[in-house]
């Protein structure tokens, strides 16, 4: 293993975010504790990181001996993840005001989680994957408990940490078993090659299957799939809302992408074993997530369950990726879906913050949305758009996201799963559109007629998300082309391996 200095270019975005994190925390402790300064630096820094990500894409193959990917697909993911962090920071701007938070630490933690997410999304090796997951998770544990004065927040952090540690153990165990079964391989491509050697007289050992199962469990925990989702509603509810928005979009995206890479690019030959069980998990996730969301009265919990069900839809793409010839379609569909999901989810959480702030007790009850359209037609309109997009009704981005993911699954032959997915999204219409009904068809109450006072930062998020959702819903072609062409070329670094 030799080190090539140009490899550093491939991880320049990660290095840049990390440096930014250090810079922000240093500025806070040494120079200035002004919110504006810290936020400005973080936001501008993240924009610069986006530019860097685009600039260094595909500079070289086989970076760090194939431990991280450096292709266009990864570039899009890095830009997406940076975008999620950027919106989360923009969303936090006025949320943190008046709360006795240490802003610098907050931003630093978000940036550190972003580093982890970026490593995770670009990893093509079990070691980098684990490194990414842990970097991301530890920052997230701290973020979940950031409202230290609030017992719910502490509870969230504790639960998240305990269960997260629990699942990490299984993940590591799975990695160890896979390492052993493939004769000491950790690279995805190497694992794929090693697995082809099994069969016939040389059957795969039982602990290979067990290892795959355990890794699957570890990743399913991160994407919050049923029955490994229990942490997510409690954590989402307890965490500060911008963090919830961040958590529901970023880590989920990063984890599902590495899921796709590992199972679609390293383990497709084992798909007979993992596709059925993942199919069951996906079906249960879609159905359960949506059904439980029906009876939620708190919008943060409702969105938490909704994000569980979206993880189910995304799992369809992972499953489809196991079928030969479909994996780049599945990857393209997933990329589109992630972008759409990020926009509508961030938008919905922004409105949730706005509405809850106007309440005296600052709670997140769905009742607060009664008659919102009368006083705030624009905000209600934006929320209605986000809800419609989450349901997956055209002409919104959510519709095409679902369409692309489902059509990849149909191509791979998982028609019953797609039928379940469509039925599940029909169920989801009940609770998403309930918000719309509340906003437009219920009389306003004294509480709901209060001025929401959206600040410029929140307005920007809502406008940007709305415009992009409509843009992607009316003209998905351009984005789809990008997703398609980049996923055709997902690199699977090939090391020259000599099989024993």
């Amino acid at each position: 293993m030799t080190f090539n200095p140009t490899d550093l270019l491939a991880i320049a975005p990660e290095i840049a975010v990390l440096s930014l994190a250090i810079l922000v925390i240093m500025i806070e402790v040494l120079i200035s504790r002004s919110e504006e300064v810290l936020q400005g630096i973080t936001a501008i820094g993240l924009l610069a990181v986006m530019a860097v990500s685009i600039f260094v894409r595909s500079t070289s193959a086989n970076v760090f001996s194939g431990m991280v990917a450096n292709d266009d697909f990864t570039m899009y993911l890095k830009v997406l993840l940076t975008g999620i962090a950027l919106l989360a920071i923009l969303m936090s701007k006025d949320y943190l005001k008046g709360k006795n938070f240490r802003v610098g630490e907050y931003y630093t933690l978000i940036l550190l989680a972003t580093v982890g997410m970026m490593i995770l999304a670009s990893s093509t090796d079990l070691v980098t994957m684990f490194l990414g997951i842990e970097t991301m998770s530890i920052a997230l544990y701290a973020l979940a408990g950031f409202r230290s004065e609030c017992s719910k927040s502490n509870e969230a952090a504790m639960k998240y940490f305990l269960l997260g540690a629990f699942s990490t153990g299984f993940l590591l165990y799975g990695i160890a078993l896979l390492y052993g079964a493939t004769g000491g391989k950790t690279n995805f491509a190497d694992i794929g090659i090693a697995i082809t050697a099994f069969g016939g007289d040389n059957p795969a050992p039982a602990y290979l299957y067990a290892g795959i199962g355990l890794i699957m469990v570890g990743l399913l925990f991160k994407v919050a799939a049923v029955p490994f989702h229990f942490w997510s509603p409690d954590v989402y509810q307890g965490a500060p809302t911008p963090v919830t928005a961040f958590m529901s979009a970023g880590p989920k995206a990063a984890a599902i992408i590495v899921f796709l890479r590992l199972f679609g690019w390293a383990l497709p030959d084992m798909s007979i074993a993992w596709q059925p069980i993942l199919g069951v998990v996906a079906a249960v996730t879609m159905v359960t997530g949506n059904i439980i969301a029906l009876s939620q009265q708190n919008i943060k919990r409702m969105l938490a369950y909704s994000s569980i069900s979206h993880a189910g839809y995304l799992l369809l793409a992972v499953i489809a990726a196991g079928t030969a010839g479909i994996r780049s379609d599945a990857a393209a569909g997933m990329l589109f879906y992630l972008v759409a999901y990020y926009l509508m989810n961030m938008g919905a959480f922004t409105v949730a913050i706005l509405v809850s702030r106007a309440r005296l007790d600052g709670d997140y009850q769905i009742n607060n949305y009664q008659g919102l359209a009368a006083n705030h037609p624009w905000i209600a309109g934006a929320m209605a758009l986000f809800m419609i997009s989450l349901t997956g009704i055209p002409p919104t981005a959510g519709f095409f996201g679902k369409l692309y993911v489902f059509s990849a699954a149909v191509k791979a032959g998982f028609i019953p799963l797609v039928v379940i997915g469509v039925l599940a999204s029909a169920i989801s219409a009940f609770y998403y559109l309930r918000i719309v009904v509340y906003m437009y068809m219920r009389p306003e109450t004294a509480e709901s007629s209060k001025d929401l006072k959206p600040t410029p930062a929140w307005k920007t998020i809502m406008i940007v998300c709305s415009i992009l959702i409509i843009y992607l819903g009316v003209m998905p072609g351009m984005m789809m082309k990008l997703a398609d062409s980049s996923s055709q070329k997902i690199s699977s670094p090939n090391r020259v391996v000599t099989l024993k």
């Binding site: 269960l163 067990a210 199962g213 993992w274 009940f430």
Partner: protein, 649 residues
């Protein structure tokens, strides 16, 4: 220019955004100027594009630009592209040109209305969709434009939505058009399933190679024609157009006379390559067209509302266009579309000017009467000279007086019916031409000649409309006169430049139909002579009845009470529809609602909702809040997953 073609529809869209978002702040005046300026820019660009197209060799006058891939799912790939060929070039010129004039006119007309900025925003949006409709290079884009103009038409008919009747008229237009759109959609699906593509060029290519039963083509074209009957107000779906006159008059001029309603004709012309393959559909189109023409003309004979007369006249003239495309004379149909856009816009704007003046006169005199009833007008010639002269030009143009645009285009259609072997249709079309001349001059005489039949105090307040309104009238009048000079037939020594310009578009259809042979010029002269005689006699009859002996019509109406009543009540079509469809459906609906819906559908829907709610409340309880329980659940999950994986070997 060809690289910037997309800017043509974008301009009005920008106008829509500006007026839609900041309209209230900008105020009425600025909104009107911005809206007009945007259309003006689009018009200038259209002219540029037109000349660029002219620069090409006649057989390569097609500019097709695909800007981006719009939808791509599996094998279905729809690019977002623009197609500029002679047909769409003519259409964008007419659309932007006429709309520009109407926008300017609107500045004066809508002045003082509290919803003026909204009005201009809608008007801009309409032009955007209309341009999309005619410029799109595929069926889906055309369909978006098609739906979009329908939406704008609905919004503008019900512009004064506080008036219940007007809101209802808007709704009626919407519902009737939906029936037609359904046909369009089915046609589109059939095209996709037959040719596997949705672009015009792809479908044309498919049609060239098509072998097999033409039955599918018949159904395809027939469903599309159903769409056209809805949008272009043909039998039996014409009923919405007369009611649509509830909207502001410039809207009637733009949407319900000059542009939107001709979309059906455009669609048939655009798909000439498909329609020509199905003689059955062509026959149906020609007959529907001519029957609509005469049917609407008879109703127009006795209407007293100035806009209603023009509305039925529009329905009738649209019928002519369908006769043209139905007998295979696509170029003639489009010619009439163009000239009709000029003189019908002129007539509507003229009527708007009259209504405007009468309305103000009524208002000054504190009189609450219908400002559109021609029985209480008269003698406006001297009060409103410009309006009168331009209206007069419009009347002689539509009546088919030789030398004006209407003569050349209408005559070409009538002549083509004979030349292509449909004499029966030709004869009916000739009779309708006679009726047209009659009812238009009846309108002219009752409105502008004689003496004022209202109160004296109103008469003193009558005055011609402001410059901003009369200027567009003048321009349109000039166009109504000279617009036909590029369509003069060979028989009269003309060059038919317009038809030649359009020829490449219909090349496939013309080749498919084959050479019809050249009937002698003599035959053409005789048809022309008959039509001129009929037009003149129609005018003279109207003069005799309404100017010289005004009591004749009343006596006549008295003598044949039944016929008059039937005509006056528009053949009771609305009532028949109401009885046959609306009441029946309402009754059926109620019966179904009581039995089927309440018991079964509601039962199932509510049951499902309840069941889901119950399951939800039960399943929710798994979420106990205790970490140890969560860990237990996870452990069970892990055992299940790993157990399955290992057992599976």
């Amino acid at each position: 220019m060809s690289n910037y073609l997309y800017l043509i529809p974008i301009m009005p869209f920008i106008g829509f955004l500006i007026n839609g978002i900041w309209g209230k702040k900008l105020g009425e005046k600025a909104a009107g100027y911005i809206a007009s300026a945007m259309i003006g820019i689009a018009f200038v660009m259209s002219v540029t594009a037109f000349f660029e197209l002219l620069g090409h060799d006649p057989h390569h006058r097609v500019i097709e630009k695909e800007f981006f891939s719009w939808i791509a799912v599996g094998d279905l790939s729809i690019p977002f592209g623009i197609l500029l060929d002679p047909l769409s070039a003519v259409m964008i010129l007419v659309v932007t040109g006429v709309s520009f004039l109407i926008h300017i006119y609107s500045i004066g007309y809508i002045h003082g209305d509290p919803g003026a900025t909204r009005y201009f925003a809608y008007l801009n949006l309409f032009v955007f969709f209309m341009l999309l409709l005619v410029l799109g290079n595929s069926y889906p884009i055309m369909f978006i434009g098609w739906e979009g103009v329908g939406l704008c038409s609905y919004l503008l008919i019900g512009f004064w939505f506080t008036d219940q009747a007007k809101a209802t008229a808007g709704k009626k237009a919407f519902v009737v058009n939906r029936i037609g759109d359904f046909g369009f959609l089915i046609g589109m699906f059939l095209i996709y399933s037959t040719f596997g593509t949705l672009t015009f060029s792809g479908a044309m290519h498919g049609a060239e190679l098509f072998v097999g039963s033409t039955a599918i083509i018949f159904w395809m074209t027939l469903s599309m024609f159903l769409g056209a009957t809805g949008k272009s107000a043909q039998l039996p779906l014409y009923v919405w157009l007369p009611d649509a006159m509830a909207g502001p008059t410039p809207v009637s001029a733009l949407i319900h006379a000059a542009t939107m309603v001709t979309a059906g004709v455009y669609m048939v012309a655009r798909n000439s390559f498909l329609f020509i393959m199905s003689p059955g559909t062509m026959e149906i189109i020609a007959w529907v067209g001519v029957l609509t023409a005469i049917f609407a003309a008879t109703i127009a004979l006795v209407q007293n509302d100035i806009k209603k007369v023009l509305a039925y006249s529009t329905v009738s003239q649209l019928g002519y266009m369908f006769v043209g495309v139905g007998v295979g004379a696509f170029a003639a149909g489009v010619s009439h579309l163009v000239t009709h856009a000029f003189f019908k816009a002129l007539l509507f704007l003229g009527s708007g000017s009259v209504i405007h003046a009468v309305h103000h006169a009524h208002a000054h005199a504190g009189f609450k009467g219908d400002p559109q009833d021609i029985r209480f007008m008269g003698g406006l010639r001297s009060k409103m000279p410009t309006t009168f002269w331009t209206f007069f030009v419009g009347c002689i143009a539509i009546a088919g007086v030789p030398g004006l645009s209407g003569f050349f285009s209408k005559d070409e259609i009538i002549w083509m019916t004979f030349a292509n072997g449909h004499p029966a249709i030709g004869v009916i079309a000739l009779i309708a031409a006679f009726l047209t001349a009659f009812y238009m001059f009846r309108l002219l005489f009752l409105t502008f000649y004689g003496s004022w039949r209202g109160r004296k105090d109103q008469e003193d307040h009558l005055k011609d409309s402001p410059k901003v309104m009369t200027l567009p009238l003048t321009v349109l009048a000039v166009l109504s006169i000279i617009g036909g000079w590029i369509m003069i037939p060979y028989a009269l020594g003309g060059g038919m430049q317009f038809e030649h310009f359009l020829e490449p578009v219909f090349e496939f259809a013309n080749n498919f139909a084959g050479e019809k042979g050249h009937p002698s010029h003599m035959a053409e002269y005789s048809v022309m002579a008959i039509s001129i005689i009929l037009a003149i006699s129609g005018i003279l009859l109207a003069r005799a009845w309404y100017l010289k002996n005004p009591d004749i019509p009343a006596r006549l109406a008295n003598r044949s009470k039944l016929a008059h009543k039937v005509l006056f009540n528009k053949y009771y079509v609305d009532e028949i529809y109401n009885f046959a469809f609306i009441q029946t459906f309402l009754g059926l609906g109620e019966a179904l609602w009581k039995s089927f819906d309440v018991l079964i559908v509601d039962g199932i829907v509510n049951g499902v909702a309840k069941l889901l709610g119950w399951i939800s409340s039960v399943v929710r309880k798994i979420q106990t809040g205790l970490v140890s329980n969560y860990a237990l659940m996870m452990a069970i999950g892990i055992v299940a997953v790993v157990g399955y994986m290992v057992w599976k070997i």
